[in-house]
Symmetry: C2
């Protein structure tokens, strides 16, 4: 009986992968995933069987992974970032339902909140919220409510999927909601192509962020009440210096 | 001139460390950290100089790391989980201030939200909040407000530092706040000793979680509106099956 391992490969470079994720990809028979993520690992594990499906075919992709494992193969389903956070692990558990086979193992990986924060400075030293601006699977009203509550709670906020071709103005709309509660000068940042070629970071105030150019390779960070720029980095002190 | 690298070592085991974190610890001269975290890596990197300070001496520990780097040593400051999320990276940037030396590099690691979720199933497939119940550096009123807002926003919630000797009843108090908004039967879980000896998981309803026994080695997960138990695991569907 094969095993299905859901592997979070992190931002995409080998260095930011865990030892455990690397071993899983070394020892599996088949690597399945969205073609962009499969291409990130293909070179390093050339002797594997590779199966991919197009972007929005998540259910088909996960069912394929379960079927291959049931056939006796050791399958690694690769997810960028973490395997659970906006990843495929939940859908795989859903599709297996109450069945006990195939065995499923979830291997965590660095999500963009962690890997992005590290290139910006230290913006997430205190409580924070992670919110996706994609309304493909979530009504916009719910996203709006979450943004509003996160701002009222003085949580630092990390925005995933800030834009795509289909929704170029979501970041602007999100900023307008946040600005009902947060000041114009709240420190913000965009991390792009984290751990990949062209990695870069840009800093803004919340007022400026409204007009920032972002794409699907960007992760957006909004500071909390105590976040400030220190030595050119975005830093959220936790108060250790005061004790 | 030495360099100060702030290393997130993840939950504690080698397997869940990134390739990059492992390299940094292999190549540094000195490893500095809270003694519990230093002990987690001591065996694997025996030929290093080790410097530790007691638990609540964060400022002293980070200043020591900066000073050693200024003396010309390559210093690795180890943090459990991520180096930024409730880690030492921000304090190190604060202490360096506007100075440009020593060079600081932040290496991210698996925070307990990722590593804990992976052993529970897939509870964080959708938007979530990470909130610490430690009021050592944060007024309890602020923690209370954040819990209330996160519940109103239907965010999954991850609680760090759910208890310590000094505050055994914080989880109960947090649950009572959440129960003002969330139902008694909301799926919850506790992940303990993640990636370490004695790793275990326990599932509760929010009503039961009030009375759960937790310590400083526990991370607590509270599901959102769609979270449910599937095949004995805590799963938060994102809605892929409906598209």
């Amino acid at each position: 009986m094969g095993k299905l391992i859901v592997v979070g490969i992190g931002p995409g470079d080998y260095e930011n992968m865990t030892v455990r994720a690397d071993r899983a990809l070394q020892t599996c028979d088949t690597i399945i995933g969205y073609h962009v993520y499969v291409n990130l690992v293909k070179e390093r594990y050339p002797d594997k069987e590779f199966l991919t499906t197009p972007m929005t075919r998540e259910t088909q992709r996960c069912q394929m992974a379960l079927d291959e494992a049931l056939k006796g193969k050791n399958v690694a389903m690769v997810c960028s970032g973490d395997s659970g956070i906006y990843g495929m692990a939940a859908l795989i558990y859903e599709l297996r339902g109450e069945a006990t086979e195939p065995e499923i193992e979830v291997i965590p990986g660095l999500t963009a909140a962690c890997s992005g924060a590290a290139i910006l400075g230290a913006p997430l030293t205190h409580d924070f919220a992670v919110i996706s601006l994609s309304d493909r699977l979530t009504p916009w009203e719910k996203i709006e409510k979450r943004l509003e509550c996160a701002a009222q709670a003085d949580l630092s906020i990390v925005l995933y999927n800030p834009a795509s071709h289909g929704r170029p103005d979501h970041l602007r709309r999100a900023c307008e909601i946040l600005l009902r509660v947060l000041p114009e000068d709240r420190p913000c940042a965009v991390a792009q192509h984290i751990g990949r070629e062209g990695e870069n970071r840009r800093f803004y105030t919340l007022g400026e962020l409204k007009d920032a150019e972002v794409d699907m390779f960007c992760t957006v960070f909004i500071g909390n009440d105590s976040t400030r720029m220190i030595g050119g980095n975005m830093v959220t002190p936790r108060g250790y210096r005061d004790v």
